[in-house]
């Protein structure tokens, strides 16, 4: 028996998301600056960033929480999606760059390049860019996962080589001659689909789209984990060899879910870039990927809602801490969070709540059952 896709929790979550997607842009655009209800644009961009991180966390939860694959390189898929979008945005600048070259982005003119590298081909078209956002991370995950899962690289070994993967990409993207802007990355964006990226309306739209993407991602995850496919994933998570002995092609399941997850991370990155206005190789740093894992752990792995909540919670804490006088102590808190959650809250916030509720329900059911049997056969209950 598979669980329902639209359980009450999911419906509640989607309603909250819908309220945010409509409410925040409305409070930004329709209210006066002086109004108490006004949401300033910077705050909306910040929330937009959180929503993108939440989508990234969701993608990690899908593989870690339901299939036991701990990727320490998911930041790489996020960044690759971001770079695909960043390249589209760079091409939209056109002749308005500092050097005024209609074809080449500024950094290429600066490096004295004469023509557009092959990797940039076609990225002035939005549909192609969207395709790349999905295709590049997906393809990398497919190839990487195919190699890794086929030779049964599991557990910690897999985590370590994903970390090596994102580290290698970090080094590569830092290079100027790699053709993606070197350590400055891509920035100074002007338009997206003809709308000014700095304008409030564009930002409001981007925020709403991010919320929609998160909702879609959430529904996709729910559908996946509620199906038979999801049941097999959980079987693999809990007893991989047993699932294999039962005749399931463990590698194929892992590869499929890993690729889907990478595409989701890519979408998150693509939505992130226009809202923060820059993408640079720092996004590939292994520390970023592992930080994203802790969002999921805080919220509760295998709960989906928990991953979203964890991402928003940790990032909100980060913003609050690093902008105040406590900034030097943020790493203590983050480090403490890693240790504390793994030691005392291994199920995460939402996981603990769910576990507690399930425990109560089973106790109640037990009590009911024993009541029923007690009334029927008083002596046999001993």
């Amino acid at each position: 028996m598979t669980p329902r896709v639209l359980d009450p929790g999911t419906i509640a979550f989607l309603i909250i998301l819908a309220v945010a997607a409509i409410g925040v842009p409305l409070l930004n655009l329709a209210t006066q600056d002086s109004s108490a209800l006004h949401v300033p644009t910077y705050l909306m961009a910040l929330f937009g960033k959180y929503v993108c991180f939440a989508l990234l966390a969701l993608s990690i939860d899908l593989i870690w929480g339901f299939c036991g694959i701990l990727s320490l390189g998911h930041g790489a898929f996020f960044a690759l999606g971001g770079y695909a979008m960043g390249m589209y945005l760079m091409r939209q600048i056109g002749g308005r760059g500092v050097y005024g070259n209609p074809l080449l982005p500024d950094f290429m003119v600066f490096l004295n390049w004469k023509e557009l590298p092959l990797a940039w081909w076609g990225l002035s078209s939005f549909p192609y860019a969207v395709l790349m956002v999905l295709l590049v991370p997906g393809l990398l995950a497919l190839v990487f996962g195919w190699f890794a899962f086929r030779s049964r690289v599991t557990g910690v070994h897999f985590s370590i080589i994903t970390q090596a993967m994102t580290f290698a990409l970090l080094l590569a993207f830092f290079r100027n001659d790699f053709g993606f802007g070197g350590n400055n990355g891509l920035t100074d964006f002007k338009d997206i689909l003809g709308f000014n990226v700095q304008a409030d309306t564009t930002r409001a739209a981007l925020f709403a789209i991010s919320c929609v993407a998160l909702a879609l991602g959430y529904v996709v995850c729910r559908v996946l984990v509620s199906s038979k496919f999801g049941m097999v994933l959980i079987a693999i998570r809990d007893a991989e060899s047993r699932a294999r002995f039962l005749g399931y092609r463990v590698e194929s399941y892992k590869l499929a879910v890993f690729t889907i997850s990478a595409c989701m991370a890519g979408v998150a990155g693509a939505l992130y870039v226009p809202q923060v206005g820059i993408i640079n190789p720092g996004e590939f740093s292994p520390a970023n990927s592992i930080e994203a894992v802790i969002w999921v752990a805080v919220g509760g792995r295998g709960t989906l809602v928990g991953a979203v909540a964890g991402a928003i919670l940790v990032n909100y804490a980060k913003t609050t801490f690093t902008s105040g006088p406590l900034a030097p102590y943020w790493l203590f808190l983050l480090g403490g969070l890693f240790v504390g959650v793994t030691l005392w809250l291994p199920r995460g916030i939402f996981g603990t709540i769910a576990h507690w509720r399930a425990f109560r329900r089973s106790r109640l059911a037990e009590a009911d059952a024993s009541d029923a049997s007690a009334s029927a056969k008083p002596l046999a209950a001993e």
């Binding site: 190699f147 290698a168 080094l171 290079r175 752990a297 890693f338 240790v339 793994t342």
Partner: protein, 556 residues
């Protein structure tokens, strides 16, 4: 011996004889110096030139300032007192006695220069440096002549070559001479062919460049000799390049080995993913810094932060920085070992059997340790100096070997050997192996497994601390030090095979050497990327590393 060479040698002998008589027949150097100065009074360019040459030949320590003053137009003669004077700011000094002359004599005449004379002065100054008392300066001068290939310096080089006793300077002078001869079209052919042989012997890039840049109109025989010498040098340089890459690779491998060896214990033997391993290395490096700081201040200052309460323990004055590393190594082992035991007892022991959670928790610990060091010592790089026995370099052929790299190589191998011995021969090692191989059986025969776990983790961390002492000698000591080693260390252990120390050794040196041999083709960064990609591919082929432990264990 060819007639040309004989003639040349006769010429040299004659020149030296003249020079020697110049020096020897004069009762003292001082007289030769005074005689040389006498030439400046006649106010004729020709006599001045004789004086300049004589000054250079006199080899007196006062000659250089005189020539320098002449070059700058600050030399004058006072015909009435027959003195040569040097302008020194506003005052005048006697060139012979160095005494200040005040008031300055009325009828001073500056010694005039023309272009020919200027060249003579330059050559004479060069010749004087070629015979400076300090061998290092002589070597420098000879190398400068080698670079400039100034034909005018030939006589000075010849003269210096005859007197030189230091073998290195002598070789440099011979090279300089060869460089001049080979590029000057006027030199006799035999001398030039001889010069080719000298350069062939030198056999480095600059010799190659010289051989390849012969002036037009070079005789065919010389050109052939030069070409064959050049190809010989090229062949030799290729061999040296390979040797050098191998050395750099060994050096990098030793660094990787040091960084990874502690991890081979915690990860390889215990199966604990210690992401805070790099921070243990960092703590070891900071221990070195603290030791050096105490030695610099000649005291150990212990105080409660933010208060005046504390004690100052003086250190003996004989304790120099040369002793800092022998002190830092055991200290770092103890400090990081204790930190490791603390981490194991407080966090890791609750997470055995949950490797992914261990990974996250230790990552958190690494963040905390980094921030703690940043708060305590500041975010900037700390200066850790090399002891005198670790600085400098020596050369084997074309290969320059720095002492610190060599020491680190020896040190890493020694650490490895010590660790292996410890695991093989001591009781603790035996118990460690027992617990790793079969925990419940070990417990059944009375080994306190929890204690062994803590000690093993402490040992791994302590070795990371020792690595930090060594790495402080070649890397920046900053809170981020550990971060740069953690991925490499994991790669080494995973590549070599988890649970096998020999695998770690082979893995470290293989990766080090492969990296350095890739670098010339791909550049430093691309080389590293290539290595990472190769390891990722390698792990796909052999998920358990080079030296996999054989067994029937199948995980859930």
């Amino acid at each position: 011996m060819s007639p040309g060479r004989r003639r040349l040698r006769a010429l040299f002998v004659a020149t030296f004889a003249v020079l020697l008589t110049l020096v020897l027949t004069s009762p003292t150097f001082a007289d030769a110096f005074d005689d040389a100065l006498a030439n400046f009074f006649t106010n004729s360019y020709a006599d001045t030139e004789v004086g300049v040459t004589a000054l250079a030949a006199a080899g007196d320590f006062r000659a250089a300032p005189v020539l320098k003053a002449l070059q700058d137009g600050k030399l004058a003669v006072d015909p009435s007192s027959r003195r040569v004077l040097i302008e020194d700011g506003v005052a005048w000094r006697d060139a012979a006695s160095g005494a200040a002359m005040s008031p300055a004599p009325a009828d001073l005449k500056r010694v005039r220069l023309n272009n020919r004379l200027r060249r003579a002065v330059d050559a004479a100054l060069g010749a004087l440096t070629l015979r400076a008392p300090d061998p290092a300066r002589r070597l420098e001068a000879a190398q400068a002549v080698f670079k400039s290939r100034d034909a005018g310096a030939l006589a000075a080089v010849d003269a210096a070559l005859a007197q030189e006793t230091d073998a290195r300077v002598k070789a440099a002078l011979a090279d300089a001479r060869a460089a001049i001869l080979i590029t000057s079209a006027e030199a006799p052919e035999a001398a030039r062919i001889e010069a080719v042989a000298v350069l062939r012997e030198r056999g480095d890039q600059s010799a190659l460049a010289l051989l390849g840049s012969l002036p037009p109109g070079t005789p065919a025989i010389l050109q052939r000799a030069a070409d064959s010498a050049a190809s010989a040098i090229r062949g030799r340089l290729q061999v040296w390049e390979a040797v050098q890459n191998a050395w750099y690779g060994l050096s990098l491998g030793s660094v990787l080995l040091l960084a990874a060896i502690g991890l081979a214990i915690t990860f390889g033997v215990m199966g604990v993913i210690n992401m805070a391993h790099g921070e243990m290395v960092m703590l070891g490096a900071y221990t070195t810094f603290v030791v050096q700081e105490a030695i610099r201040q000649k005291a150990i200052v212990l105080s409660l932060p933010g208060t005046d309460i504390g004690v100052i323990l003086p250190l003996p004055a004989a304790l120099t920085l040369d002793w800092s590393l022998p002190i830092a190594v055991p200290l770092a082992f103890v400090v990081t070992g204790l930190v490791g035991i603390l981490i194991e007892r407080s966090v890791i022991r609750f997470l055995y059997g949950r490797p992914l959670e261990t990974l996250l928790a230790t990552w958190g610990i690494s963040l905390i340790l980094q921030q703690a060091v940043r708060t305590g010592f500041g975010p900037t790089n700390k200066e850790v100096s090399n002891p005198s026995w670790m600085s400098g370099a020596f050369e084997i052929g074309q290969l320059a070997i720095t002492w610190n790299r060599l020491w680190i190589l020896c040190f890493s191998l020694a650490t490895f050997a010590l660790l292996l011995t410890m695991l093989r021969w001591t009781r603790l090692g035996l118990e460690m192996r027992a617990v790793t191989q079969n925990r419940s059986m070990a417990a059944a025969v009375g080994i306190r497994t929890a204690r062994i776990d803590a000690l093993t983790f402490g040992l791994g961390s302590g070795i990371a601390g020792i690595a930090g002492v060594a790495l402080s000698q070649i890397d920046n000591v900053s809170p981020n030090l550990g971060q740069s080693y953690i991925i490499d260390s994991f790669m080494v252990v995973v590549f070599g095979g988890v649970g096998n120390l020999w695998g770690t050794l082979v893995g470290a040196f293989t990766l080090g050497i492969a990296n350095k041999f890739l670098e010339p083709f791909a550049g430093a960064v691309l080389g590293k990327i290539a290595i990472l990609v190769l390891i990722i591919l390698f792990i796909q082929r052999r998920p358990r590393g080079l030296f996999a432990l054989k067994g029937r264990a199948v995980e859930a």
